[in-house]
């Protein structure tokens, strides 16, 4: 290792003379430096004009597009939310309305059923009443017929009995009474 230091030290000692020469000989040429700066500026301007600016413009345009897309997406999302809300409201309203319609239909069906039931009851009552009246009339007719028949039989029997059983004296007495009765008719 010590050898290495010796070698390096000797090399460094040999090179220190070259560097000093270089420093002494290194000079700045202001003209070349200015031309090179000018070239650099022109290059930068050209690059800015024909490279950076279109790229920046494209980027900006894309950013705008992305931004408007995002805004549109946000707007659409909002609209979607609103639509969903509206749809929910409409569904709710439709559900309420359908319930109302169902209830109304039930009420109408019940009313109709009640009406039909009432009509049927009335009809049955009328039929029963009619039947009762017919039975009563039939009963009355039978009673009348029986009464008339009994009366006819009573009269017939009485006539026969009276015709055979009345004595002449009784007939004469009745005729006298009849003559008096007829004489007194005004």
């Amino acid at each position: 290792m010590l050898d290495t230091f010796h070698i390096l030290a000797s090399a460094t000692a040999e090179q220190s003379g070259v560097v000093s020469d270089m420093v002494n000989n290194f000079g700045i040429n202001w003209k070349i430096l200015l031309v090179q700066g000018l070239n650099f500026a022109v290059l930068m301007a050209l690059l800015y004009k024909f490279a950076f600016k279109p790229v920046l413009s494209t980027i900006e345009e894309r950013q705008n597009k992305i931004s408007s897309g995002l805004k549109y997406a946000e707007k659409m999302e909002k609209k979607l939310d609103e639509a969903e809300l509206k749809q929910t409201e409409m569904l709710h309203e439709a559900s309420l309305r359908s319930q109302e319609i169902i209830q109304e239909a039930r009420d109408q069906a019940k009313a109709l059923l009640d009406k039909e039931t009432q009509a049927a009851t009335t009809k049955v009552e009328q039929m029963l009443e009619k039947g009762r009246l017919a039975t009563e009339q039939e009963r009355q007719k039978i009673l009348d017929e029986a009464r008339q028949e009994i009366a006819r039989l009573v009269v017939m029997t009485s006539s026969k009995v009276l015709s055979t059983e009345l004595s002449d004296a009784q007939k004469t007495a009745f005729n006298e009474a009849a003559a008096k009765e007829l004489s007194s008719v005004n």
């Binding site: 008339q148 009366a151 009573v154 009276l162 002449d168 009745f174 007829l182």
Partner: protein, 132 residues
């Protein structure tokens, strides 16, 4: 009805009234009057006139007759009494037509014109039957 027809009907009415009132005693007289009245008439008119006379005579005879139906025994005294009472009632003399009717059972039925008066057991039984 024409004036002549009306006059003929009026004559038929009067003849019927007269015949009913006078009875059998005036038959010849009435027949003669009828012949005279019907002489100028046609066959159809005669038939119609005679039918009208007969109808009226029948009605008038009913009004001048007292139909007496009886069952049992009816004395002359009662008959006379009834004829007298009903003659007074209708305002002219009535001719009694007496018939026995056993259907009455007992009692009397009188008829003058369309009016019927009855006092019999049969009639009482009918009334009883009607009330039952």
């Amino acid at each position: 009805m024409s004036g002549t027809d009306a006059k003929l009907h009026k004559m038929a009415e009067m003849l019927a009234e007269y015949a009913a009132q006078e009875g059998e005693s005036c038959v010849a007289e009435v027949v003669e009057a009828l012949k005279k009245l019907m002489e100028p008439l046609s066959h159809g008119q005669r038939q119609e006139f005679f039918r009208a006379f007969r109808r009226r005579l029948r009605l008038k005879l009913k009004q001048y007759q007292l139909n007496i139906e009886y069952a049992g025994e009816l004395s002359d005294a009662h008959t006379k009494d009834l004829v007298q009472k009903y003659s007074e009632k209708v305002g002219h003399d009535l001719t009694p037509v007496i018939t026995e009717n056993p259907d009455l059972i007992s009692g009397i039925r009188l008829q003058v014109g369309d009016n019927v008066y009855e006092a019999s057991l049969a009639e009482r039984l009918r009334r009883l039957s009607a009330r039952v």
